[in-house]
Amino acid sequence: MMANILTILIFFPVLAAFFLFLFFRSGKATMWGAFIASIIELVLTMPLMTNFDKSNPGMQFVEKYDWISSFGIQYYVGVDGISILMVFLTTLLTAIAILGSFTYIQKRQREFYIAMLILEAAMVGVFVALDFFLFYILWEAMLIPMYLIIGVWGGARRIYAAVKFFLYTLAGSVFMMLAIIALYFKHGSITGNYTFDILAISSQSYGGGLFETLVFLAFFVGFAIKVPMFPVHTWLPDAHVEAPTAGSVILAGVLLKMGTYGLLRFCLPITPIASINFMPFVAILSVIAIIYGALVAMVQEDIKKLVAYSSVSHMGFVTLGIYAFNQSGIEGGILQMFNHGIITGALFLLIGLLYERTHTRMIADYGGIASKVPVYATIFLIFTMGSIGLPSMGGFIGEFLVLVGSFKAFSNMAIIAASGVIFAAVYMLWMYQRVFFQSYNTGLHNLTDMNVREVIYIMPLIILVFWTGIYPETFTSYMHESVKQLVEQIQSIKVAMN
């Protein structure tokens, strides 16, 4: 069973969705069915995590079957230190998102839960795919369920947001397809064996000329839109604000990580020389993203939009870490991806709870609700502090490692990025104060505190946020070897270059 655990992880949600589609008629039954399926999926990731051999930098649980032999395309999956945390994050957040939307989704529940399960399968697939064709199919296949989730169950401007999300991501990934095909032929012409196997293609160097720069740019555009990096981030606030709670949890928790995961899996190993040449450019963009995201978050009137812009700022840290090309930078980046998933996922769940009760997300409509909902206020405070990067929580460790890594690589950038720490405190606390403190805004009614169910599904996130803060080694131990291998590869090329 352990050998093909990955295939099970990918296809179990799809089969569950198909099964629900055929035999479950009522919304409620599908809801519970989907929840159980997602729990089983989460439980299935446990053996993956425990049997993972932390000392082996290469791919594990590898499965390779011929798919389209005439084109050298295989069904080739495997997981290594970089992607294993993401798989766990995906299954965890999906299970929580499904449990979280029991009361939130009222109309057309059946289609919602089926879309969520298919989305989960596609996301897990993207993180474990080792064949370009399989990766690209799952990368785009993920768009349809997400588009439907935003579009059908979203808020007022959901259609604009759904279309914008779809076309924005598609425009980026369309060039990626060309780059993949170009790589396929170039690799074929150099080595004679035409294949889409990522590891084979990344082990081959492409001379750093115009070809490699163009391929790098094509990949970079596709992933930068997904991260989102500075100039191409405007789809994120719209998509987040309009998406239902579960949608924005998955969007923030997992989809953003695909961009940075792509940078790590594709841009760095396959086009190292171009990545090194573009290092200052990407670093500047990341720093702008950090400061810009924080500043704009400060003046938002809508809580969800504020958290969305904060995601732009946090992901700026991740890309800064990755492009520092050293062990602490990249490990900090990956850990920050994991933490951001937990913290922002939790924040969106909490905002969703508030929205379910008061049906408004405008900060001005709130005030002094801490007295009415103390438990909610405390949990929200925990995650606000997590998002600011308070020590004893994961956010701090991730940010610290990123800053250490980037300080070694480009100290000026790191100093400016460190100032992001101030702005993070400003916008989160200003929002927290206007919503929770000061005098109670009588306009609010039926504001009831969190019930047991809601506390239960937030509890794992609370535990994880403190766990990554107090003993991060449990998570960073997975990635040490794989990141070291990647860093050595890049350093050797860097040395060769100058």
Binding site: W67, I68, S69, S70, F71, R108, E111, F133, Y136, I137, L138, E140, A141, L143, I144, Y147, L148, G151, V152, R158, I159, A162, V163, F166, L167, L170, A171, V174, F175, M177, L178, I181, A182, Y184, F185
Partner: protein, 475 residues
């Protein structure tokens, strides 16, 4: 002599079955006319099995006038798919619109014979005959619904412009014949190779012939007829017309261009690359501005011709194999979409194919709208659906022959195209119902849609079976 008979055995078989169809039509009672269609399906499947070219061999007949090989057979599969799906899809449509006549199926059947000749022709005269057989059959089909003014207009327009374009084709053909001394592709190629393209004023003939072909595949400067004819013709016929005749035209064009005009490849590559860019861009842009789904799909058919032209411009074996595969996939998704469109009845005041009549459809008909969603996203080329495999193959052919700029134009166009395909899903899933439009999926059309959906998903995920069919093709 024996070998010549064998080379046109499939056509002979088809003709015999066609005549039997006419007899069946005459014998069957009025309401049982759909039986003719089912017989048609049976006959075409029989011919399909009977004429399998074992081991990719080539049967050259009539002193190299036509050839039956795996190339022609692959296109025959496309015609068969188009015929079967259209027949299944149109049984209910014909009953609903009161034009339930047997001739519908027989004329459709005979048009396929014309297409088969076109595809297997290696001589200009056989090419012309096949072309005209198909064209005349299509004129009738376009104007089939006598009582409906729109169908009449479609028929007339298609006839006049079609006849004009075949006039131009013929005129070009005469010059090609005149200056190369023969109508056989191999001889033409030989003459072009020896005398070169420049000194003979064959260019005039070439351009006019290619213009005639461009009309058939609705490439942009010659596409004006397509939107009006496709919107006017009865919906299942439009489905058929966007697939089968176009496939036949591409089949004949590839063979003519790759064999006969092989030495003049620089010229026709330039010719078709201009056409490809214009066709894709024009087709996509105007499709966005449409608010009638049928007309929108008409323009999308034009844009898809543009994508296929990229395969042609690539001028390598991967190119034309990609076109054949694209045609198969396009057949399934397009005819599937038109079948559903055909079944859409809108009791509201406006004509039933408007976008607004799709509003809120997913609540009333979840299965039908799910199928429509799959077709739309497949047409847009989103994985894991078949459309993506087709586009992927075409772009690989383009990049293999170094046409990166054309691939970029193609890729940008498919991104623009997503918008109008998505608009249908927006109306179906995100908007509330405005008119009480409804789709009653009768048994026949639901089978057609089911087959189309299954194949679109199947090719999307396991394309190797169909790629192997296409792989055996050699021009």
């Amino acid at each position: 002599m024996g070998q010549s008979i064998v080379s046109i055995l499939p056509e002979i078989l088809m003709t015999i079955f066609g005549l039997m169809l006419i007899v069946i039509d005459v014998m069957s009672k009025d309401e049982k006319k759909s039986g003719v269609g089912y017989f048609g399906i049976a006959f075409i499947l029989l011919t399909l099995l009977a004429s399998v070219p074992v081991g990719g061999f080539k049967i050259v007949g009539f002193d190299q006038m036509l050839v039956w090989d795996s190339y022609a057979y692959a296109f025959f599969i496309v015609f068969a798919i188009a015929y079967i799906l259209t027949t299944l899809g149109s049984v209910d449509y014909l009953k609903a619109n009161g034009i339930n006549k047997g001739e519908y199926y027989t004329i459709l059947y005979f048009s396929i014979i014309g297409m088969m000749f076109m595809v297997s022709a290696t001589d200009l005269s056989v090419l012309y005959l096949g072309l005209e057989t198909m064209a005349i059959a299509m004129y009738i089909m376009a104007g089939f619904n006598k009582k409906d003014k729109r169908s009449n207009e479609a028929g007339i327009k298609y006839f006049i412009i079609g006849a004009f374009s075949s006039g131009i084709l013929l005129y070009g053909l005469t010059y090609v014949y005149g200056y190369t001394g023969s109508t056989k592709y191999s001889v033409i190629a030989e003459m072009l190779r020896t005398n070169g393209v420049e000194n003979l004023n064959i260019k005039l003939g070439l351009v006019m012939m290619l213009a005639g072909f461009a009309f058939k595949i609705s490439a942009v400067p010659f596409h004006m007829w397509a939107p009006d004819v496709y919107s006017g013709a009865p919906t299942p016929v439009t489905g058929f017309m966007t697939v089968a005749p176009k496939a036949a035209a591409f089949g004949a064009l590839i063979r003519f261009v790759m064999v006969a005009l092989e030495p003049a490849s620089v010229q026709w590559q330039l010719f078709f690359s201009i056409l490809a860019v214009l066709t894709m861009t024009y087709g996509n842009l105007v499709a966005i501005a449409q608010n009638n789904v049928k007309r929108m799909l008409a323009y999308s058919a034009i844009s898809h011709a543009g994508y296929m032209l990229i395969g042609l411009v690539a001028a390598n074996d991967l190119g034309y194999k990609a076109i054949a595969l694209y045609m198969i996939i396009y057949g399934f998704m397009n005819i599937g979409a038109f079948t559903i469109l055909g079944q859409l009845k809108n009791k509201g005041i406006i004509d039933d194919e408007r976008l607004e009549s799709f509003a809120g459809l997913s609540k009333k008909h979840p299965l039908a709208s799910l199928a429509m969603l799959i077709f739309m996203f497949s047409l847009a080329g989103i994985p894991p659906l078949a459309g993506f495999v087709g586009k992927f193959y075409i772009f690989s052919a383009a990049i293999k022959s170094g046409l990166v700029w054309l691939a970029i134009v193609g890729v940008v166009n498919s991104a623009i195209a997503c918008y109008y395909y998505m608009r249908v899903t927006i109306y179906m899933y995100f908007k509330e119902a405005e008119y009480d439009a409804s789709i009653e999926m009768k048994p026949a059309s639901s089978i057609a849609t089911f087959i189309a959906v299954v194949f679109v998903l199947l090719i999307g995920v396991f394309p190797s079976f169909f790629i192997n069919i296409v792989k055996m093709m050699i021009v």
